[in-house]
Amino acid sequence: MDFDDNPEEAEYRAHVRALLEQHTGELLHGGAGESLDPATHEAEFRRTQRVLAEAGLIGIPWPREHGGQGGTLVQQAIAGQEFSRARIPTLINHIGLGMCGPTVIAHGSDDQKERYLARLLRADDVWCQLFSEPASGSDLAALRTTAVRDGDDWVVNGQKVWTTLAQVADYGILLTRTDPDRPKHAGLTMFVVDMHAPGVTVRPLRQMAGGSGFNEVFFDDVRIPDAERLGEPGEGWRVALTTLMNERVAIGGGGSDIGVPVETLAAHARDRLPALGPDRQVLARQAVGRAVVASLATRYTGYRRFTVLSQGGLPGPEASAGKLAGTAAGRLVADAGVRLLGDDAVYGAAADGDDTWQGMQAYMPGLAIAGGTDQVLRNILGERVLGLPPEPRADKSGPFSGGTR
């Protein structure tokens, strides 16, 4: 047991570090705690990914025939750790890399692969994922956006929501209902959609924490050529499962904290504890201790998952526990951080304008929802890890249009 790189990992890490060093002037670097907005720094974000791609640090586990490096998930994780260490912000095409690309690889035509994959890796094209709708969140297969065949095209109408990066995206993978007379999972079809096509409207969606990382996307008679279909008509759910499985791989991370790192909380406590009375210090230490323990429990569990990758394994459904427990730990960290602010805790930011803790506090409720609610994650863990039986479902058979939704 150890927490060090094995020789191959160490060698690869040194390789990545050298490349980042060499290209440092061409790369975007974010300030600690302050996240850059891809929409306002789009050009630098795209350039950063292109430079990294040309250095061979993007699409590491992708097959070489599609522009990847034919590497391992561990190499990709190491590269990710080094990007963080170099304060490179999240890649502008992380949705494309993590979800859209793998879906095109698995289900696209040779022509689609040819046209899209290399450009995606270089962020010549940025991609988004158009699945969720206002009336279908956890129950994704209840979606209502329709695609109707018209000659060589399909005509799409409907609305998507919670679409990350739609405001800068060039393409998206779009899940539609093409046969409402079949059961909900059977009437779906997936497409690649050109986000610049006539009839596509993107509207940023402001969140309670203030930022606008999500968008609404409206489709009004948007025409998609049949050649842009991904998989057969009616096979959209199977295609989407590929995407979602890759999403789990993307978030099943290796021990990184959710929200503010617990070391930051410890430093904050060091600053703020002395200002409290002795009784208050006792209570604050309980809160800080509890937050630290919960965070470390999640972090070290992440290291165990990472070790599985390192030994050539794949992340299983237990990765959902990382998000569930990480969210709970994040809430404890945020709450301890806010309470340590004393009189500033009732304001949106501290007197010096720092809103680290209040910002994290306002970010946590969304985190317990986006990317799988706590409730959905518990279902997944209960059924796929513990083997408990699922609930009976009445919505899987019968035509969608007949009310079986």
């Binding site: 206002p134 009732v346 930011a349 409720p365 986006a370 609610t373 479902r393 009445a394």
Partner: protein
């Protein structure tokens, strides 16, 4: 035993509900975050007489009980109204011996705020941002004066929080420590009443959405995870109402029980409202954490109120000390 509101109090609550529903809203609370005015605002609250409910009749008030005020405050809390009736309750206790100032409180001609902490640089104090005359405790004496308010970036803009430095001060009463403590207990109870109203509304909104929103072929409220979360929030609200009524009643009818009851209500309100607001967001899923949805406005209020006038830890400590000292009814 008759542990229930009487007919007059029920009528007052219904009237207050109509007033607040027509004059304040979560939408106004949202607008206030971007610089809009707090609704219904000081003047409207004065005009309808809510600022003087517990002010003596001789000073132009209604001479009502704290319970009378609490049932009204609950309705204001339900729609996140501002400014808070906490200030009216607290100032009325402090000014009971100063009828000329109490009259200014009741008729609304002066906007008071009561300062927590040192008067030459107070803690964040409720409605201090919009006030013109401040009451504070200065070396054991009750003082009144004008001051300069410095408001921080709001988390919940309806609370009008600001830190104040008094620029002049006049002593109203020496040795006011006991009076001050009683006023703060009354304020804690009214804050708990506003929290009760807000938490109750949060549960109602959550229940309504859970009945309507479908997932996997049925309403999400039929799933135990959602149903039980809402039940736990509702049980908390229902029990908070009991503690709140007891505390508000005790202020006038059982002064010996009041300090413990007030701290119990405030401590429990902090927990119940926070849980109700978190539940409201979680039940709504994605839409629940958008700026345009009302859920975060309840959540903001909950995150702020839990810390005002003493947080849960302070009041639990008080409850324990009083209980150990024998303050529970046998």
């Amino acid at each position: 035993m008759n542990f229930d509101l009487d007919v007059d109090q029920r009528d007052a609550a219904a009237g207050a509900r109509a007033f607040f529903t027509g004059s304040a809203s979560p939408a106004a609370a949202r607008a206030a975050l971007e610089g809009g005015a707090v609704e219904p605002g000081h003047k409207a609250l004065a005009d309808i007489g809510f600022l003087g409910i517990t002010v003596a009749e001789a000073a132009g008030g209604a001479g009502g009980s704290l319970l009378d005020l609490a049932v009204v405050a609950e309705q204001g809390g339900a729609v996140l109204a501002g400014p808070s009736l906490v200030t009216a309750a607290r100032a009325a206790v402090l000014l009971a011996g100063v009828p000329e100032l109490a009259a200014l409180l009741a008729d609304g001609s002066t906007a008071f705020a009561v300062l927590d902490g040192p008067v030459d640089g107070s803690h964040a104090s409720i409605d201090a941002a919009g006030a013109t005359l401040f009451l504070g405790l200065d070396g054991g004496a009750l003082v009144v004066g004008a001051g300069e308010a410095r408001a921080g970036q709001p988390m919940d803009a309806t609370r009008g929080l600001a830190s104040v430095r008094l620029t002049d001060r006049r002593v109203l009463r020496e040795d006011a420590g006991e009076l001050w403590a009683r006023a703060r207990q009354a304020a804690a109870v009214v804050l708990a009443a506003e929290d009760l109203g807000a938490a109750d509304r949060a549960v109602q909104l959550g229940v309504a959405y859970a009945k309507e929103r479908q997932a996997f072929g049925r309403a999400i409220g039929s799933y135990q995870s959602v149903k039980h979360m809402l039940v736990d929030a509702w049980v908390g609200v229902d029990q908070l109402r009991s503690l709140l009524w007891w505390a508000a009643w005790a202020a006038d009818a059982a002064p010996d029980e009041f300090p413990l009851a007030a701290s119990a209500a405030k401590a429990y309100a902090a927990e119940v409202f926070e849980r109700a607001a978190e539940t409201l967001i979680q039940v709504h899923g994605g839409i629940g954490f958008t700026w345009e949805h009302d859920a975060h406005l309840y959540w903001r209020r909950a995150k702020v109120d839990r810390l005002l006038l003493g947080d849960e830890a302070e009041h639990l400590d008080t409850v324990a000390r009083l209980a150990v000292a024998g303050a529970l009814r046998a």
